[in-house]
């Protein structure tokens, strides 16, 4: 029967390597999310949302203000200018499409409505 071997004298470099190996192996296991992320997302500060809300409100306000200014200061001159512009555009068109001026006007108005709706949507989304 063999006698047990006496413990080898402690080698500092081996000890160090063993300790480092143990420390690496001791990395914490994966912690299950268990709703943690949802709690974080629910408590995100409103600061960014407020800033985004302010931006959207400024954009929408600027758009409406610009429209208002154009109507107030442009007056009938603006309307006449737009009508003239539409006529020119209709005349310039090589295609003899009837009512092209009206189509341009309707298209322009649709663009404004869409822009205002988009601004309103962005504003509402950030509330």
């Amino acid at each position: 029967m063999n006698a047990p071997e006496p413990p080898a004298p402690s080698d500092p470099s081996t000890d160090d390597a063993r300790l480092e190996k143990m420390l690496r192996a001791a990395s914490p296991p994966y912690i299950d999310d268990a709703g943690f992320t949802d709690r974080i997302m629910a408590s995100l500060p409103a600061a960014r949302r407020r800033a985004e809300h302010r931006r959207s409100a400024l954009l929408l306000g600027g758009l409406l203000l610009g429209c208002g200014q154009a109507v107030v200061f442009g007056g009938s001159g603006l309307v006449a200018f737009l009508a003239m512009l539409m006529e020119r555009l209709a005349a310039w068109s090589a295609l003899p499409v009837p009512g092209l001026g009206a189509a341009f006007t309707v298209g322009g108005l649709a663009c404004w409505v869409l822009a205002i709706a988009a601004g309103g949507w962005a504003w509402a989304r950030t509330r």
């Binding site: 000890d15 160090d16 300790l19 480092e20 143990m22 420390l23 690496r24 001791a26 990395s27 914490p28 296991p29 994966y30 912690i31 299950d32 999310d33 943690f36 992320t37 709690r39 974080i40 997302m41 408590s43 995100l44 500060p45 600061a47 960014r48 985004e52």
Partner: protein, 175 residues
């Protein structure tokens, strides 16, 4: 990725890093899970507020660990008068993330518990340095960035911690 305040992307980042950050804080708080999770929550909220300050000089996870460590330090400073932070850690709680269900051999369990207990006896700075350099695999330079201290200080913490651990674990002999 987050330039346009993409909350969904931030949620993904939280999901991706929550385990590491919570594990780090659980270790620092000596296994106080509730406190660690509160600190982790504050960490992510601060990260969200300060996203503009993250320019990608380090990995996002490293940056998060830095915030977490600062949160831990300021909380410890605030609570030091009312809460004793040292030498009251239960060994069973000293290993963060008790959710693990991987069975281990008795000797491994013993060693893990002894190591956890030994780690818990280190100072917070030493624990942080050891955790970051070994468990998280950061370089000394990255760990210095997280801990906000000079490189030499991190190396000293690591060396000192290892010396202490060798002493604490010298009695351990596998069966």
């Amino acid at each position: 990725m987050l330039a346009h305040d993409d909350r969904h992307a931030f949620g993904e980042l939280v999901r991706q890093h929550q385990s590491a950050v919570r594990g780090f804080l659980r270790r620092l708080t000596g296994g106080r899970h509730a406190l660690a999770d509160d600190l982790a929550q504050e960490t992510f909220l601060e990260a969200y507020r300060c996203l503009a300050r993250f320019h990608g000089e380090s990995a996002f996870g490293t940056w998060l660990h830095g915030i977490a460590y600062n949160r831990f330090r300021s909380t410890r400073r605030r609570q030091r008068e009312t809460v004793e932070w040292t030498d009251e850690i239960e060994i069973s709680n000293a290993t963060p993330g008790c959710e693990t269900t991987v069975p281990a051999a008795p000797a491994t369990v013993d060693l893990r518990q002894d190591l956890a207990a030994a780690l818990a006896r280190l100072s917070a700075d030493e624990q942080s340095a050891i955790h970051l350099c070994y468990a998280e695999g950061l370089t000394h330079e990255e760990a210095a960035g997280v801990l906000g201290c000079p490189l030499g200080t991190v190396k000293t913490h690591v060396l000192r911690a290892k010396d202490k651990l060798r002493g604490y674990l010298s009695a351990w002999a596998p069966a």
